[in-house]
């Protein structure tokens, strides 16, 4: 996620070249790009379109259809809160209100220090021990406001250690 702007076209080109021969290559390509860059830059769209012989509008239509793909660089961490029924039954609505207030953002937004982007998610398959939250590859169960605050502290402290 720390590619310089100059590196972006190369990264996109490499990913597209390595995957374009797959049947139904578009989603694997988009995943590859988002894995590497954290988002799908607008500049990538014509490159993908040319390689797959489809229009830029087609590519754009796919990027915008799927909740997971994003067109803008997110914060250093993406925190996803489960909004689905099983987590609602364990207090997800209250957690959601707390999280938005604590971070000062709504869904889809990034904190002003760019440390955290908050996103809704509909079920993480962790439904017997909700409310559930996902940060990257990690899923956390039985989340409550106090644990959420500790999680945010951990994530933002980590950032300081890095710098």
């Amino acid at each position: 996620m720390d590619e310089t702007q100059a590196g972006v076209p190369d990264t996109v080109e490499t990913i597209v070249t390595s995957l374009k021969h797959k049947p139904g290559a578009l989603l694997p390509i988009l995943h590859g790009i988002q894995d590497h860059l954290g988002y799908i830059p607008d500049d990538a769209i014509p490159v993908i379109a040319r390689a797959l012989r489809i229009t830029a509008a087609d590519v754009h239509g796919v990027v915008s259809f799927y909740h997971y793909f994003r067109s803008e660089q997110p914060g250093r961490h993406v925190v996803e809160l489960c909004r689905a029924e099983a987590c609602q039954a364990r207090g997800a609505r209250a957690l959601e209100a707390h999280a938005k207030a604590r971070l000062g953002v709504d869904y889809g937004q990034t904190t002003t220090d760019r440390s955290i982007t908050l996103k809704p998610v509909y079920c993480l398959g962790n439904c017997a021990t909700g409310p559930s939250v996902r940060v990257g590859e990690h899923i956390k169960g039985r989340m409550d406001p106090a644990r959420f605050d500790r999680l945010v502290d951990d994530l933002t402290t980590y950032k300081l250690e890095l710098n």
């Binding site: 989603l27 694997p28 799927y66 029924e85 099983a86 039954a89 398959g125 962790n126 017997a128 899923i139």
Partner: protein, 513 residues
């Protein structure tokens, strides 16, 4: 032998700290000079006891849980003794496990998920070896005889679907595994993929042999990173061991398998939308016919089956279709892995033959609500399934009995709510979810759900309640009748059940809690 210690590597266990517990057990054992073999097994599915640690000193496995990092030192000091406060006794004797009928999930939590040796040592690939001796028609007949019906929701007979694909002409055919598991309250597919991935792989190879398909795809939701990792690892090892590839176990038969990731769209669980997505398009639902069995992926004959349907196949081929059909009632044969979720004291995976009651599931297995308050409502079958009230808890768990009360079993998810639930809020959420997840192809679904949210908002504020209730009813009927797929066609089920069974929640004065 040295002491074997098992700590699950599975999402729910990890979400409750199993990773730290495992690390700490290694460290503390080393500090004490105690020789242990740490095994990362799957979860047994007793989620309220996770992290559930098991030990085996050669006399059988004994369980401890739920284990917090703070408990590790005392567990080791006691040499995992039976008098430790967290001791649960022999794992196999735990009543919650013992009273289940684990067929598909027999191996759950027992083995190291990605170990081929563990898999083979527990009957893995026996079904495949039998299948390699049979003709495609004989294979399809076995699945028909098992009575297996699709576990993804629609409960269509799997053998009949396979027959259609077998009979269809096509130079290339496909097996597509629907691993989109989008329903809230469900995690059985995830458990297969994280804890027993070779079983799914074996089921897909057998499906390929049965219908003449040489390419398989697992369409996996992006929300399951650990399942992704375990599947990729298992596929690579199965390839290396000659179970996948151009010459399966020197039979001259071929089957290749690849995982493809979804991207956070509930509608991509609908089979035609899923196929569009696999082809690299937006997940717009296709009109049927043509059926995917005739014109599926890239226009070619395709079996689309849920993870659990395919995972049931190896045991059907190993133990015989009669054994599988011996479980269950009437036209619901075999077992269904129920998933107890939400506000439930003892949540987790309960595999049972069809025919038990919902009450057994919620009270005997689930132990009631986690909060200790009375259970007020239960949603069965995911976000498109009806809410049920305790008065309906004696309904038998089979497809037909549920359909008789306007409900669905679906993928077996059971989400429990206590008496703090506001059913008008729940109805509103059903509509809101449909707004978020509709593919947008038809008006009743796309526009109807948006109107639905607005109408319910007015009802919740107490504005023109009678007129708005009538409007909501009309809207529900329009969605049911005018939608192309079950997203728009079934969203009204939870909504209608909410206002029919819990009318008091729709009659509050504006602002009243």
């Amino acid at each position: 032998m040295s002491l074997r210690v098992f700590v699950p590597c599975e999402t729910t266990a990890l979400s409750l700290g199993a990773g730290d517990v495992a690390t700490l057990i290694s460290r503390e054992a080393e500090a004490r000079g105690l020789e242990i073999e740490l095994v990362r097994n799957g979860s047994r599915g007793l989620f309220w006891l996770e992290p559930l640690v098991e030990v085996d000193d050669g006399t059988g496995r004994r369980a401890f849980g739920p284990v917090d990092t703070a408990d590790v030192a005392s567990l080791l000091d006691s040499h995992f003794g039976d008098d430790h406060p967290l001791a649960l006794g022999p794992t196999d004797e735990l009543p919650w496990l013992k009273q289940q009928q684990r067929v598909t999930f027999a191996r759950l939590g027992v083995t190291d998920p990605v170990s081929l040796n563990d898999y083979r040592a527990t009957g893995g690939f026996d079904g495949l070896h039998n299948a390699l001796e049979l003709t495609p028609q004989q294979l399809v007949d076995k699945v028909k005889a098992s009575g297996l019906r699709g576990r993804g929701g629609a409960a269509f007979p799997t053998g009949i679907k396979w027959q259609t694909v077998l009979d269809a002409a096509g130079a290339q055919k496909y097996i597509v595994c629907n691993a989109d598991e989008g329903d809230s309250g469900t995690f059985a597919d995830r458990l297969v993929m994280e804890c027993d991935p070779y079983m799914l792989i074996e089921g897909m190879i057998i499906a390929g042999l049965a219908v003449g398909a040489t390419q398989g795809y697992i369409y996996l939701r992006e929300e399951y990173p650990l399942a992704h990792r375990h599947l990729d690892l298992a596929i690579a090892r199965a390839e290396a061991a000659g179970y996948l590839g151009n010459n399966i176990q020197n039979s001259g038969r071929a089957f290749a398998l690849e995982v493809r990731l979804g991207a956070g769209a509930y509608i991509c669980g609908e089979e035609t939308s899923l196929l569009e997505s696999l082809e690299g398009k937006r997940g717009m639902v296709r009109a049927k016919p043509p059926l995917p069995a005739i014109e599926g992926l890239f226009g070619l004959p395709t079996v689309v089956n849920n993870v659990l349907s395919l995972a049931a196949v190896p045991s059907i081929l190993r133990d015989g279709p009669e054994h599988y059909a011996g479980f269950g009632v009437e036209r619901s044969r075999g077992t269904l892995p129920f998933q107890l979720a939400g506000n439930i004291a003892q949540g987790g995976l309960v595999e049972l033959a069809f025919g038990h009651s919902l009450r057994e599931l919620i009270e005997d297995f689930g132990g009631g609500s986690a909060s200790g308050r009375p259970v007020r409502a239960v949603q069965v079958g995911g976000p498109l399934g009806a809410y049920l009230s305790p008065a309906q808890f004696d309904t038998a768990l089979d497809y037909e009995a549920f359909s008789a009360i306007g409900a669905v079993l679906g993928h077996g998810g059971v989400v429990v709510f206590d008496d703090s639930v506001d059913m008008a809020e729940q109805a509103r959420f059903s509509m809101e979810f449909c707004v978020e997840e509709s593919c947008g192809k038809c008006t009743p679904c796309r526009i109807g759900s948006t109107r639905g949210v607005e109408v319910i908002d007015r009802i919740m504020r107490g504005e023109n309640r009678d007129a708005n209730m009538a409007l909501l009813e009309d809207l529900c009927d329009t969605m049911i009748q005018g939608s192309l797929c079950a997203m728009g066609g079934m969203t009204p089920f939870p909504v209608k059940s909410a206002y029919t069974l819990f009318p008091e929640d729709f009659q509050r004065q504006g602002g009243e809690a």
